[in-house]
């Protein structure tokens, strides 16, 4: 009898602070598995965001730095330019990347910096208490849109991956989800590809992961995973958005 699945070595054996059923834990694990498989743990530097994943450095057993809210791509640019042989990735939520950090992500992508961005989209602000995010879908109830998001007053959800795919500096963008075992495996494949692009010096790669927030979607973890499938993927279709490598 052989152990075929266990905690990746790059992941510390501690209890995470995330709510029950939160997708962040799955994405954290997938990143660690990819880093272990490529054997790049000693030369990886992660940039943690502000948001629910702000404590990611407590869970990853490799070098991690923290950045100001939304500025992770700018910090990643600096580190990559000084240490071009290291593998640099940013881990950002939708409040961090698509709201306060929109300028940084667009210009970093446009410069074609050779970094990897993991963008976890759960369509709501988690850490601050469940307010509307730019990625909140139409009709979705949050603390600041108690009757559902209305395009007239709140605008339309921001499709950041499609926007970035128009920029010539971007080589690879894929949107995946972590709502079932198949999609988790596809997410791992996409993250692996995004890291491989950086290892091969191809340029800017981004993986958008649709993740669940049972607490602020006011659902059980199981219902939240179903909601990704029935509602979220309608507005954010899964698949490769750009592949120029």
């Amino acid at each position: 009898m052989e152990k075929t699945f266990s905690r990746p070595k790059s992941m510390r054996n501690v209890v995470m602070h995330y709510c029950a059923g939160c997708g962040h834990g799955i994405v954290h694990r997938l990143i660690c598995e990819v880093i272990d498989e490529f054997k790049i743990r000693e030369k990886t530097i992660a940039i943690a965001p502000v948001g629910c994943a702000v404590l990611a450095y407590d869970y990853w057993d490799f070098d991690t730095t923290e950045s100001a809210h939304g500025r992770a791509p700018a910090v990643a640019t600096g580190i990559k330019r000084i240490l071009p042989d290291r593998i640099i990735f940013t881990y950002q939520g939708d409040g961090d990347l698509a709201a306060i950090g929109t300028a940084e992500i667009i210009h970093t992508a446009n410069r074609g910096e050779n970094i990897t961005v993991i963008f976890v989209n759960n369509a709501v602000y988690g850490m601050t208490g469940g307010q509307m995010a730019p990625t909140t879908i139409l009709g979705q109830k949050t603390e600041t849109t108690p009757w559902g998001r209305e395009p007239k007053s709140d605008g339309y959800p921001l499709k950041i991956s499609e926007m970035l795919s128009l920029l010539p500096g971007v080589v690879y963008i894929e949107r995946t989800a972590v709502n079932n075992a198949k999609n988790v495996l596809l997410t791992k494949r996409a993250i692996k590809k995004a890291f491989l692009n950086q290892i091969e010096n191809k340029g800017f790669s981004l993986v958008e992961v649709l993740s669940s927030c049972p607490t602020y979607w006011h659902m059980s973890p199981v219902e939240a995973m179903k909601w990704i499938d029935t509602e979220m993927t309608k507005y954010y279709p899964l698949g490769v958005i750009k592949n120029n490598c």
Binding site: M1, E2, T4, S6, V15, M16, G21, P214, P221
Partner: protein, 68 residues
């Protein structure tokens, strides 16, 4: 024959493993854990577990180890 081990101290009782097990071998316990949630346990009397690891893939808290 395969089996899984669940780290009950880390389990938050989200039940994603329960709904993702194709054979329904993971069930919710009545026992309350140290974190105040009803944990899950693995019950495989007829050795049905194939070690597919769907439960472990979906566990957000990496509580599950799979042996095959």
């Amino acid at each position: 024959m395969a089996y899984i081990k669940i780290d009950k101290e880390k389990c938050k009782g989200c039940l994603l493993c329960v709904v993702n097990c194709p054979k329904g071998l993971i069930v919710q316990d009545e026992e309350i854990s140290i974190r105040g949630v009803e944990m899950v346990s693995f019950q495989d009397k007829d050795n049905e577990c194939s070690g597919c690891a769907f439960c472990a893939l979906m566990c957000p808290d990496v509580c599950i180890e799979v042996y095959r």
